[in-house]
């Protein structure tokens, strides 16, 4: 926890100061510390080595996946080139593959989901973190929110198709767009529900970590609860909240099953947010088993590569923004 300056007024350090213990008792303790047995040293180094290996394995895994994706995409990259990224036609019969409709579908549904879910996750986070941190109702709410993350996505898809889609269809009839029900909007709604817990849980723990002297000082100055939340709690936690948003965006980008069941699965470019479309993850899941031509299979894997890169880029941008927030 760094020292942070809020509005140039409140300064706060969470780091406990290290004071050298100078009492006789403390000196003895310190002396005993120095005498480490060989075994202690060995366990120490074994532990450190284990940690290093674990870290390396993670790096190798990510690079390995990236490498696999690149190698397997080569036939398609050779055959289609960069045109693959903005090609608007996906035609397995003629071996023409363009990822643009799916790239657009992925980004559109994910960001729309984020937009829809954010007010809810923020509200849940503030409610649980600031207003009612304890008690049976908040506990129940907390568990319910966490349960949302635990429900398998196929169940969301099924529920979406059976319940949400007919509702959206009625809505579409009223606002005068083609009443198909399934489409980008329906999938964004489903995604929004699925990603609420990620931003909400992280936001809640961040809000609970706001040092109480900070809030008490604000209350002492006569601030109302809303004012405390607005000018103390939210500024203090914004990097954490943003990290939560990033986490939920990652989830939304990669979600497959629930999306494929309600998005309508067409390779046409969506005309508006109610139109059917498709996402990259959903196309891969749909077409992978029956991809009967090498270039077709490779084009699907390249779709995976594009998804991977999109996720990386979004994460990098997110990290930059978080850094900016925290360094202010």
């Amino acid at each position: 926890m760094d020292t942070s300056v809020e509005n140039g007024v409140i300064t706060r350090s969470e780091l406990p100061l290290r004071v050298i213990n100078s009492t006789p008792e403390g000196m003895v303790k310190a002396k005993r510390r120095v005498k480490r047995s060989f075994r202690q040293i060995r366990t120490e180094s074994v532990f450190r080595r284990t940690l290093t290996i674990m870290g390396l394995v993670m790096i190798i895994l990510v690079l390995g996946i990236l490498l696999t994706l690149i190698v397997q995409s080569l036939p398609s990259i050779k055959a289609l080139g960069l045109k693959y990224l903005w090609g608007k036609v996906w035609d397995p019969v003629r071996d023409i593959y363009g990822a643009w409709p799916f790239l657009l579908g992925t980004l559109l549904s994910s960001f729309l989901a984020l937009l829809i879910s954010f007010p809810f996750s923020l509200a849940v986070a503030i409610f649980l973190g600031e207003y009612y941190p304890n008690g049976w109702l908040p506990d129940f709410l907390k568990n319910a929110v966490e349960l949302i993350a635990a429900v398998p996505s196929v169940i969301y898809g099924f529920w979406g198709l059976a319940v949400l889609v007919p509702i959206v269809r009625t809505l579409e009839t009223h606002i005068g767009v083609e009443p198909v029900g399934v489409g980008i909007f329906s999938s964004s709604l489903i995604l929004a529900i699925m990603i609420i817990p990620y931003a909400a849980s992280l936001g809640r723990s961040m809000i609970q970590m706001v040092p109480s002297p900070l809030k008490e000082a604000a209350y002492g100055l006569g601030a109302t609860r809303w004012e405390v939340i607005r000018s103390v709690v939210l500024p203090y936690t914004k990097s954490g909240l943003f990290a939560g948003i990033l986490l939920s965006l990652g989830r939304a980008l990669g979600e497959t099953m629930a999306v494929t069941m309600v998005i309508g699965n067409t390779s046409l470019i969506p005309k508006n947010i109610f139109a059917p479309g498709n996402t990259m993850a959903s196309v891969i899941a749909n077409e992978f088993t029956e991809a009967d031509k090498p270039v077709y299979l490779s084009a699907l894997i390249e779709l995976g590569l594009v998804l991977f890169l999109v996720t990386v880029v979004i994460n990098l941008i997110g990290k930059k923004i978080i850094d900016r927030f925290t360094n202010e």
Binding site: T50, P92, V93, V182, G264, A285
Partner: protein
């Protein structure tokens, strides 16, 4: 201190466990990079000579499960069938990880060039694709002509009360609802049969879209799997889509009569599908039953094939295993056919059985025929 050490040991075991599982995951990743869609890690050439392994078409799966369990009762042979999809079944056969593959489409040129040895196709059952619709006010069964079906799927016929539909359905009150096309979003043999049919009957479809297990649909919505398409049709008034006949029958969906080559409007039934297959079948059996010449045959139907290597001696396979496989296949095209009707599969026509028999007899082990 002691407590700490204990804790530490616990952590160590946990770490080694985690590392172990990570390496497994990694080796899986690198395996996957080798052979395309190889989903199984069991190899046909393994020590277990008892069980046969097959993979492929999910359309065949219910029938195969029934047949294999019946065969197991009488002959004690275990068959492990993985319903992974036709394309994946063929690629597993290509990499020789299964004893047989099953597919709703014969192998195409590119798949043929990928296999190292000649393969044979044995027709094992036939299925049909029903054209299902959701028109709440319409009680009669609709008649459809190939032209109209192609027009609807191309998007040129967009309302149910289009004069072209009305002309072949005299006396049926058609609503002015928009037609919403529902198609499969996943690659499937059903799509292959249906698009092959459309490409045959409509030059427009053939040039604009073509045929395949996944195509670039000019109109409509995609549903994942038969249940996905069925869901779209059931929910949306005005929806029109294609679906496996067995699925449509089991779910009580309404489906249309389709005009065949001879001009008759045929309801898809098990009998009319078997009839569609009663045509002259080429010696390699790789024929599409779509737009059949048979006068009483339903025009949107197709065989499903089991595919095996013609020369059964590969990867240290024993003669015993090859014989077991051939006997099983022979049983499937004869006695096994009795189980198809109850599961809404069309039994093979006599013409198909005699061709399949001849193909099975062409299989060899070390150059010698296996079945006499």
């Amino acid at each position: 201190m002691k407590k700490n050490l204990l804790n530490f040991k616990g952590t160590l075991t946990l770490t080694s466990l985690v590392i172990g599982s990570m390496f497994t995951a990694f080796s899986l990743v690198s395996c996957g990079s080798g052979g395309g869609a190889s989903g199984s890690d069991s190899t046909a050439s393994g020590g277990n000579d008892e069980a046969l392994i097959g993979a492929g078409s999910s359309f065949d799966n219910p029938l195969f499960s029934k047949e294999f369990s019946e065969y197991n009762k009488t002959n004690g042979l275990k068959v492990n069938y993985q319903s992974v999809g036709s394309g994946a079944g063929i690629s597993q056969l290509t990499s020789k990880t299964v004893d047989f593959g099953a597919s709703d489409a014969p192998m195409n040129g590119k798949q043929d060039s990928a296999v190292t040895a000649p393969v044979i196709h044995i027709p094992v059952t036939a299925g049909a694709v029903a054209l299902s619709y959701n028109l709440p006010g319409v009680k009669d069964t609709l008649n459809l002509t190939p032209d109209v079906v192609a027009g609807m799927f191309l998007g040129t016929i967009s309302k149910w009360n289009d004069p072209k539909i009305a002309a072949i359905n005299k006396g049926v009150k058609l609503p002015a609802t928009a037609i919403l096309i529902a198609h499969r979003s996943d690659g499937s043999g059903t799509t292959n049969i249906f698009t092959t049919y459309l490409a045959k009957v409509s030059p427009d479809w053939s040039t604009k879209v073509g045929k395949g297990s996944a195509v670039n649909w000019p109109a409509g919505l995609g549903g994942k799997g038969s249940e996905g398409v069925a869901g779209l049709i059931k929910q949306t008034p005005g929806a029109f889509g294609y679906i496996e006949l067995a699925y449509a029958i089991q779910n009580g969906m309404s489906y249309a009569k389709v005009q065949n080559k001879s001009g008759n409007f045929i309801t898809p039934t098990i009998a009319s599908v078997t009839a569609a297959a009663n045509i002259s079948i080429p010696p390699d059996s790789k024929v599409s039953l779509t737009n059949t010449d048979a006068a009483d045959g339903y025009p949107i139907a197709g065989f499903s094939w089991v595919i095996i290597y013609k020369e059964q001696k590969y990867n240290d396979r024993s003669l015993d295993k090859a014989t077991k496989l051939l006997k099983l296949l022979s049983w499937m095209i004869h006695d096994g056919q009795q189980y198809s009707g109850a599961l809404n599969y069309a039994p093979l026509s006599p013409a198909a059985v005699s061709v399949a028999d001849a193909i099975l007899k062409s299989a060899t082990y070390d150059g010698k025929p296996i079945l006499q």
